[in-house]
């Protein structure tokens, strides 16, 4: 009796994952027209599914914020109400007037862009004060981090490089020798882990995406 649910809940999704991954992976080795066409079509399916995911995310946002407002959850319902109001404004303007309209351009520039830029600007002040208050070098690792951070920062400071040109080559050496080699090692390690995870997913040994 459990065979049918298992078929639909587990075996078919695993088989689909395997076939799709195989077709897309084969494109990178076999230049057969059927493989290429199928692979390209599957990639387009991925774009469509991502677009649907955005709609789903928007609905989830509305539902969760409405929950805060209806239940009048302390410290949450005011932000929830503001989210819903602005969501309604953007959605209705975009739907009724279109994204090429003057109204859409106005709310994008004067609400969305202005608020986001202000938030990022405030973050800059926070970063400076947090660096001053929280960052104290207490051991050799801390001193190395402090020294390298300050040197890279000064190499990206135009006035400092003009005052003492050696800041430039020092910063460049830290970024291109120390940083780049470590980042490449991390990239290779991550890539190996990704390949291992992908193989496990494709073979159905890892089913976290189905939960």
């Amino acid at each position: 009796m459990t065979a049918v649910p298992t078929l639909f809940k587990r075996k078919i999704p695993i088989a689909m994952t395997f076939i799709i991954a195989l077709v897309v992976a084969l494109q990178y080795g076999i230049e057969h027209p059927y493989i290429i066409t199928s692979s390209n079509t599957l990639k387009i399916f991925g774009v469509v599914v991502s677009s649907i995911a955005i709609i789903l995310a928007s609905l989830t946002l509305v539902i969760s914020q409405m929950g805060y407002v209806v239940k009048k959850k302390a410290d949450y319902w005011v932000g929830g109400l503001a989210s819903l109001i602005f969501f309604a404004i953007f959605f209705s303007v975009g739907l009724v007037r279109g994204i090429e309209s003057v109204e859409w351009a106005w709310i994008q520039k004067n609400i969305f862009s202005a608020c986001t830029t202000a938030l990022m600007g405030v973050a800059g002040f926070l970063f400076v004060s947090a660096s001053y208050r929280a960052y104290k070098a207490k051991n050799i690792d801390g001193y190395l981090l402090l020294a390298s951070g300050l040197l890279v920062m000064l190499s990206n400071t135009p006035a400092a490089v003009v005052l003492w040109p050696t800041f430039g080559p020092i910063g460049k050496w830290i970024m291109s020798v120390l940083n780049t080699n470590v980042q490449r090692a991390i990239l290779v390690t991550v890539a190996l882990g990704t390949v291992a995870t992908a193989i496990r997913t494709v073979l159905g040994w890892q089913r976290g995406y189905m939960d």
Partner: protein, 283 residues
């Protein structure tokens, strides 16, 4: 209550004083730029030289993939690069896999004075936001016209002469990714650089420079660093604008932060040494 020592005082400056000081320092040089000199880095030079030597019929793909709040870091790079491309008469197609892309495009488009003979639809086009992150890039790199059939305003490709003959990433002479996110840097390198061997360049946020450097110089011929890179590029391309004006503020902000960090550590080391002498600890 014991009086605070000199080291205690400089370790515990009121943060409001720090906020006011940095606001005054930055606003003074933004309102009245001093005109501090700048040096031109190799990344800006590489990118400039590469675009200069591209043939006149070249088509460039520009990815506009950064948060709208980071426009002051990467938007100026985007503007400078587009101004240079348009002044040379090269064509470009811009698109976004980041949701804020259309907002950034609208802002850049309103700030750029295109040459009178540089026509939308013939010389440049913006295709809008395409969902899917790396999946979208993979689809675009393989078969652009199956993914997108019109531009951001809904104009079909049949009415956009620039899209004639454009099938996949092989039709692009060069790809520039303007982003602040590490995963966009990696996905661009994978989908366009590794897969299709397209020449790449990045214009990235300051925090993302270390993430893009591993791809330099083999996959990416330049990694334009934040607003400094934008200023250098504006100077090279002779399109002075907001980035060059902001270099004074960048210099002073960095020097201010450098001074604060040194001050906090002098205070910390002083407290440490005092605690060691008296046999106590700093908590």
């Amino acid at each position: 209550m014991s009086e605070k020592s000199f080291y205690d005082k400089i370790s515990s400056i009121d943060v409001r004083l720090i906020y006011v000081s940095i606001a005054l320092v930055l606003s003074s040089v933004i309102i009245n730029p001093i005109g501090m000199p700048i040096t031109i880095g190799e990344h800006a030079t590489n990118l400039y030289n590469f675009i200069e030597q591209l043939p006149e019929d070249s088509l460039i793909l520009i990815g506009i993939d950064f948060d709208v709040g980071l426009y002051s870091e990467m938007g100026f790079s985007l503007e400078a690069i587009i101004k240079h491309i348009s002044s040379r008469g090269l064509r470009f197609i811009a698109l976004s896999i980041h949701m804020d892309g259309p907002v950034n495009w609208a802002k850049a488009n309103s700030r750029i004075d295109f040459p009178s003979n540089y026509i939308y639809g013939e010389d440049y086009v913006y295709l809008g936001f395409i969902a899917g992150q790396e999946t979208a890039q993979a689809a675009i790199a393989s078969d652009l016209k199956k993914v997108v059939t019109s531009d951001f305003m809904g104009i079909p490709f049949s009415e956009l002469p620039i899209m004639n003959g454009v099938e996949n990433s092989q039709d692009f002479a060069f790809i520039i990714e303007v982003t602040g996110q590490g995963h966009n840097i990696d996905s661009t390198a994978r989908q366009y650089g590794s897969m299709f061997n397209r020449p790449l360049a990045y214009a990235v946020a300051g925090a993302a420079i270390p993430l893009a450097m591993p791809y330099y110089p083999r996959l990416a011929l330049a990694v334009l660093p934040s607003i400094i890179g934008a200023a250098q590029y504006e100077y090279l391309a002779d399109v002075p604008s907001s980035a060059l004006k902001a270099t004074d503020a960048v210099s002073l902000a960095h020097i201010f932060l450098f001074g604060l960090l040194i001050l906090s550590h002098i205070g910390f080391w002083g407290q440490l040494s005092k605690a060691k002498r008296s046999g106590g600890k700093i908590v």
